[in-house]
């Protein structure tokens, strides 16, 4: 493959690898797992790796959507790792110029770190929500314990009274 003179040309050449890297044949019309990672890579290449915040936001959006649909963070990371690995193989084969290879590898590593950061942020945010929810659960438990304590006292008194009544009844 030729030495790409512009970022646009290089991005288009990586886009060609999409089917191979994402194994789209397996998944038909649906978005294959890891598509968000591959799209982020194309974005990173087209902006020349200069704008991390933009990449962050777009990935955050995509990751949140997958988590909302019920995918786990582990699944997201597994997909990202698979995309990275397949890309490394595809890049070595498809790009003859070492400089082009290096540009793509560098962008792929940037995306890998960004995915990890976004997933970690999501996990940490979930942990924070879970901590708050646990506090609420513990408060509810304290109230339920109080109610249960009072119920037991009443039941105990009623059992005594009922036994006594049964006894008087029997004697009568």
């Amino acid at each position: 493959m030729a030495d790409y003179s512009t970022e646009g040309e290089l991005t288009e050449s990586v886009r060609v690898l999409r089917d191979e890297v994402l194994d789209t044949v397996e998944h038909g019309d649906r978005d294959p797992p890891g598509a968000e990672v591959f799209d982020a890579l194309l974005r990173a290449l087209s902006i020349g790796g200069e704008s991390v915040p933009g990449l962050d936001l777009a990935l955050h959006d995509a990751v949140s959507r997958r988590l909302a649909w019920g995918d786990t963070e582990e699944a997201l990371l597994a997909d990202a790792e698979l995309v990275f690995d397949r890309l490394m193989i595809a890049v070595e084969r498809a790009f003859r110029d070492p400089t082009d290879q290096m540009v793509v590898v560098e962008a792929a590593t940037l995306v890998a770190v960004t995915v990890a950061r976004v997933v970690s942020l999501a996990a940490v945010a979930r942990a924070s929500r879970d901590r708050a929810a646990r506090l609420r659960e513990e408060l509810a438990q304290r109230q339920l314990h109080d109610v249960l304590g009072k119920q037991k006292q009443v039941i105990s008194r009623l059992e005594t009274d009922t036994d006594f009544s049964d006894l008087s009844d029997d004697q009568g």
Partner: protein, 642 residues
Amino acid sequence: MSTRQTGAVPTVTPLRIAGDTHVGKVRENNEDSLVVDPAIGLLAVFDGMGGANAGDIASQTARDFVRTFVTARRGTLAPKPLLEGAILGACAAVYEAGMRQKELHGMGTTAVACLVVDSKHVVIGHVGDSRAYLLRGGRLQALTKDHTIVEELVQRGLLNAEEAERHPYKNILSRNLGSRPDTRVDLLELTLEAGDRLLLCSDGLYGYASAEAIQYILGSGDAPEHVARDLIELALRGGGGDNVTTIIVEAAAPARTSTQVVRTSGATAWWQMRGRFMQAAKERGLAGNPIVRGLPPDEALELVGSSLCQAVFHDLEKSTGVNVWTFAQNLAGGWFEQGGDWGSVRGMIDILGMSARTVVEEIRVQDASLGFLLDVAVSRALVVAELALGGLLAERLRKMDTDLIEISTALHETLDGGMTAGSGAAGRRGEIDAPAASDSQDGEGGGQFVDRATIPFMRLERAVTSSDVSVDLLDAIKKTITIASARLPPRGSDLVKQILGSVESIATEGSGNFATAVLAARELYGTRSVDESGVMPLFDALEQARVLVASSVQQIQTTDANRARCLRAVSSAHQRLVGATTGLVLEAVAPISEKLREAQAVTSELRSQVATAERRRADLERRFATTIDPSAPWGSRGSTEW
């Protein structure tokens, strides 16, 4: 092997000039070049960049062009256009040389040059991040602003100084000679005053030495050739991760420098007041300090007070700090060896410090200017003592750190041993895929780490480099990491350094790197709080390491193909480490969700118990009411209270 080159030391004009350069401790080539040519009044530093020896070619091309240009036109052009024309011409010359040979394509160099107009006037021109400093009245000030992306963002108010210091792109130049046919040169005309010192240097100096230390050495009063050499020594002691070049220009000396005053009159005045110092120390209770407990008071005073007094005297006399440093080390070192506490050392140093200040105040009353200079010098001596103590404490912490690492390593080896003994390396995959079976065999303890794949999404069979990896590639990986480590700032980058070390281990290990990556991630993760402030610094450091590695790989001397292979291997290793680290974040988060689920289960159980109790209460109440008076209506059969 010493690769130092020394520039000529001129004897013309009232200016004293000297220059020196050194390859540093990490690089193999010196890509810096310098000109020290008093005959044409030209001094310049060039710091080249570009792979395959292109850096030194760029800096030498620029150096030769500037020197030839200035020699040819010194008498015909005014100083400012002369210097500007020389630097712009050098830019075009480097660019053309790069265009002529493919392997030199993209090479470039920085330049900071000083053209001496006469004994009081100079013109300074610069492009890139080599710097010019002026020492005037003992204060160091930068004359140039770096042409880096980050510095320009600071100039535009988009970054503050602190953010700039930590910015991953702080070394990326916005201007240089050679990447384009022309550039813009910043020029400055300066009028020198008696005693001024100018310093021209490459980033190998200020990147590895603090501004305070540079100011201290530049203001030492030593001859320029010694100062140039001492500054290089300073950078080498700070790590020497880059080529380092210094040029010193000293304007005609004033009658007497402050250093000379302190060396003679100050030292004498101090020594004459030693009796007063001892008395002040005695009054402040030196003899009662636990360090000298058991000694007769006079002996204690003599042993500690007199020793410090002598140390300060010798340091004042020689403008050094070595005597006070040694005193503080001996005092605290021996005490710590016996298991002594920090508080006693602190107390002793405070007594000595306050006694010294008492003496200086009394000298100031007699001679205000000498007292002022002595105040500065004695304060410096006390700071040196504090630094020596800090060094001792750091040494103790390092020893403790080493012990902990050894314990941790021994623990991991034990665990790994257990893993291999359990089912062999080949069976590792199966072990992790079938945790239940392994659990039953290994029982508790060492087997736990092996049997539970804590980072389940990481695939074990994945190779970063193949087992038949070439020596060239391994060498390239090591060089890349060495360069990246050397480019770290001296302070506050331990985490990034640790990451770089881990990446190297993973990348050079070949296929069996799963355990290495997980263990490295565990070391990195340490004990962090599971929130944004605990976890995000880790990812910031991983990103910083990524940027460093990507730029450092460009600097290694190898073929483009090998460089690409090296980047692939290092990036794969980095990605593996990032994956393992994220896995640990998920692992840390998991118990929090688990506890929530447990709490929800407990709440649910409690609700169920309350419902059961409520049914039982209602049942008992009905029975009770029926027994008491079956004919009465439900409402009047008795009541229970909640």
